[in-house]
Symmetry: C2
Subunit: 117 residues, 2 copies
């Protein structure tokens, strides 16, 4: 039905939570530790780690542990895939509006031409 | 924590399903009846109606019944909101890359200057 839908499923699913979007917003400004990601969120560190796991499973975020600190960073490719899907839908919708506009303009002209002849 | 997160939650949640994305893809090309939406999908009409309900609840799609036919059309505003959120994250991430590039270029120059003096 669709070519490889799973990455988009997981990306949109991951973005469907406000806490996870706050984490992605933070990481878009640069890498951060789990504690830094948790700072603006009104939830336990354990809940933040669970949200991080969803983000990592979607491929939107990667993390690595150096010593005792886990540092997270954004993986732009998956976000770009989600953006591309939406942009393609918009392009399709705008193309239809253009065609509709042309059709309306053409049918508006027709009666005038008929009246002239 | 976030300004009015619910519409984005619902939009991304609605887009997290491949069948619903097929329906949005179809509607981006123009209005369609429920049967037309169901045609490329390997599922019952009842399942399609349930997916349509999720899309309508998210505001991505509107439908109206004229006689016996329910016609669905896309509501671009919600899709634009989702696109804007992703584009803003990309802008933030690209701005950071630019700053990082400038920083690296500046620190690369420094030792050379030191060697010259």
């Amino acid at each position: 039905m669709l070519n490889c839908p799973a990455p988009l499923d997981r990306a949109f699913q991951a973005l469907a939570d406000p806490a996870r979007r706050v984490m992605v917003e933070r990481l878009a400004r640069g890498p951060a530790s789990v504690s830094e990601l948790a700072r603006p969120l009104d939830m336990t560190l354990s809940a933040v780690v669970q949200h991080l796991a969803v983000l990592e499973a979607s491929g939107l975020v990667r993390s690595q542990k150096l010593g005792r600190v886990r540092t997270c960073h954004i993986e732009p490719r998956v976000l770009q895939g989600a953006e591309r899907w939406i942009v393609e839908r918009r392009a399709s919708w705008e193309r239809r509006l253009d065609l509709l506009g042309e059709f309306l303009a053409a049918t508006e002209d027709q009666p005038k031409r008929r009246r002239k002849t």
